[in-house]
Symmetry: none
Subunit: 418 residues, 2 copies
């Protein structure tokens, strides 16, 4: 597999005010060509730092893409640094200079002497025409055989240069078949427990298993990779069995996309009644275009009174079992389903913390229930003690809530089919 590295240059990337979106964008494209991205490196506009970055990148990768530092100011040192790394001098590229002059004329702008410096390139480099900005790129062969592409840093210029230069050149050069791949997500199971159960797959040398705990989604993403489609397919069939009902999304779908898709496919609707998640499940469903086909309304029932008034939880049940209890979650689920006249009703009630916990009901205790029919028997209940701070408990609870809607849909469909 072709190893690649991305160097992004500019002090704005290091002060923490902006995120380096070019690296992520380029990485997706490089992986799409079947390359492996081994390194992202961001450094200051300082010659010494850029040279050190080029050396590290060239040691790990045969293709290095540099973005930024090609502007007209004295801060912009990428041209000089690449030349130094190559042992080249800088020359003015007359073709690019003429092009820059034409661009300035077209936009009726005055060209400053600084802008002339943008036509410079290391002597051994080949220029890469930029039609959407005044900084041309260039490409050169490094001392240890790595190919170094240097591009401007403005995102839309990066995208243009990729489409018009790098993508066609690299596609021809690599001519590699992309690896076979399958991605899925799980909910309600820890990364380490999952990894343990999938250890048999991980042990296979022909298969690569990647895990990514998605903290802000409350899911774990698993990717199976291999050179052969058959290897991935066989591993997927096993992984699907092992993940069982924790499997919550296929492909690159996120949990809310998968949930909406499941309901749409089965012609089902849902109504939510949320206490400790405060509307997060409904909001995640509504994030998906077309959510109106599955969700007409939702309730945020944070106070006890609202649980009674909005979704009909009897005051005696609240009194007898407390707001955070299986009985209340079940009543919320049934009440939400009835209030929304929907196929499914979801109830979530728990203690997100940091206060409010007790020995019997510690912080993180959350009761989930999904009602998929008329009777008390048509309710699925799950109790979890979710670890983490308040926001993490809420994120995880919302993910479990979405997942429980899927499980409720499956129960309803299997009941309908039997």
């Amino acid at each position: 597999m072709t190893n690649t590295a991305i160097l992004t240059i500019g002090s704005e990337l290091l002060c923490g005010d902006g995120l380096d979106t070019n690296s992520a964008w380029l990485s997706r494209r490089l992986e799409g060509l079947g390359c492996s991205v081994r390194l992202h490196l961001s450094c200051l506009d300082a010659e010494e730092d850029i040279v050190a970055g080029l050396a590290t990148a060239s040691a790990l990768a045969s293709i290095v893409i540099v973005t930024g530092g090609l502007g007209p100011t004295v801060d912009d040192l990428t041209r000089a640094a690449v030349a130094r790394y190559l042992g080249d001098s800088l020359v003015t590229d007359e073709g690019e200079l003429a092009h820059i002059e034409a661009l300035f004329a077209r936009f009726s702008r005055t060209m400053t002497p600084n802008n002339r410096s943008q036509a410079e390139r290391p002597e051994s480099a080949r220029p890469l025409r930029n039609e959407v900005g005044t900084a041309p790129g260039f490409v050169a062969e490094g001392p240890n055989g790595a190919t170094i592409y240097s591009l401007p840093g403005v995102p839309r210029e990066v995208y243009w240069m990729w489409d018009h230069h790098l993508a066609p050149e690299l596609r021809e050069r690599i001519g590699q078949r992309p690896r076979a791949e399958r991605t899925f997500r799980t909910t309600g199971i820890g990364e380490s427990t999952l990894a343990e159960r999938l250890a048999g797959l991980e042990a296979r040398p022909e298969l690569e298993v990647r895990y990514s705990a998605e903290e802000t989604l409350g899911t774990v993403r698993i990717t199976l990779l291999a050179d052969e489609q058959e290897v991935v397919q066989a591993a997927w069939l096993e992984a699907r069995e092992i993940a069982g009902h924790h499997l919550s999304a296929l492909g690159t779908d996120r949990l809310n996309e998968a949930t909406v898709a499941t309901l749409v496919a089965q012609g089902l609707t849902a109504t939510t009644a949320e206490s400790c998640t405060g509307g997060r499940v409904a909001a995640q469903l509504v994030e998906i275009a077309g959510a109106s086909r599955v969700l007409g309304r939702g309730f945020v029932t944070y106070s006890n009174l609202s649980k009674t008034e909005l979704v009909g939880v009897p005051a005696e049940v609240l009194q007898a079992h407390g707001a955070v209890s299986e009985e209340v979650a079940r009543a919320m689920a049934r009440g939400a389903r009835a209030a929304g006249k929907s196929s499914l009703g979801l109830g979530i009630t728990g203690i997100a913390g940091p206060g409010g916990g007790s020995e019997a009901k510690p912080v993180g205790t959350v009761h989930f229930a999904v009602a998929y029919g008329e009777t008390e028997a048509d309710v699925l209940h799950v109790l979890r003690v979710l670890p983490g701070t308040r926001d993490v408990v809420q994120i995880r609870a919302a993910a479990m809530g979405l997942h429980l809607i899927q499980r409720g849909a499956a129960a309803l469909v299997s009941q309908r089919d039997s």
Copy 2:
């Protein structure tokens, strides 16, 4: 100035699916201590790559922070790589092992043999206790004098480790006087418009003005920095005037924290009725501990029928003006306030896209209303056409909704006081 470098480890950072938020977060803190951040480097969970990254980082910086790769799976190789770079062997830290065992017991979870490996550290390293996750960190001195901190990769664990270990240790080591600083946030005004209005402040050589568009919060964060407290204070008084009612949070408070704090301070309560934001405003309020004092219930009124049934929007008004209209937003706000018997009612209705737009009401059109009294005159209405994709429109609309609750509270208080 102390040079620092940040290494983030994990294949998920390189495949382009996620952005490296840890580097940005840590960079802001390091700059806050008066350090210079010279390098960000992300590499795969591969021993050779991590070792190469450590060498590059240690050449440029005297403090190196590594995040990630401390999990329990075979993918997690940071412990081994740092040990190799230091020329150390790995040892099990008995104190950390006991702590991990206690954490698992507390959450009634089964500890897998994999989790034992999380108690390992390079022999010469000092462990850093992690109270919010199962991966302890460690710190060691590198062969060329750089101090290497190794932290878990989960963002909230990074934040905790920074607050409890790195911040105090580095503050003492660097001993530099931090610069005077004041931070605030604005909502409902673009970054460039704001920058234009604050241009007079930016022009002062003794003052630094930093902007950060917080895409996922729908706010702009502004930080004023100077060596002298007086300079910052004078600039703040002017900036506050210029920002006017767009000012939405002070200090490092996020918009939802500021909104809850405002309501608590004034003894006010709110009820939400959300269409295109689907419960996002309520969920953001409930994110804050103590939200029960300000929010008892909320409505997700996504369908027309639910707007009528839950918050009493007359069917004729929906018919006459359409669901996305000033009239409907106002009726939702008044209906929510009445249904919740609260001081304030919020109504949000709009077109988040990608479909559903028209020439008269393009995608991004959102009507907001906050009711702060009995009569139609006690309703504040705002119309915005928000740019962006569906999720961005929803994020921005939720931010405007939170902000409008603050403006409604201010209107109510000024009415009450007059």
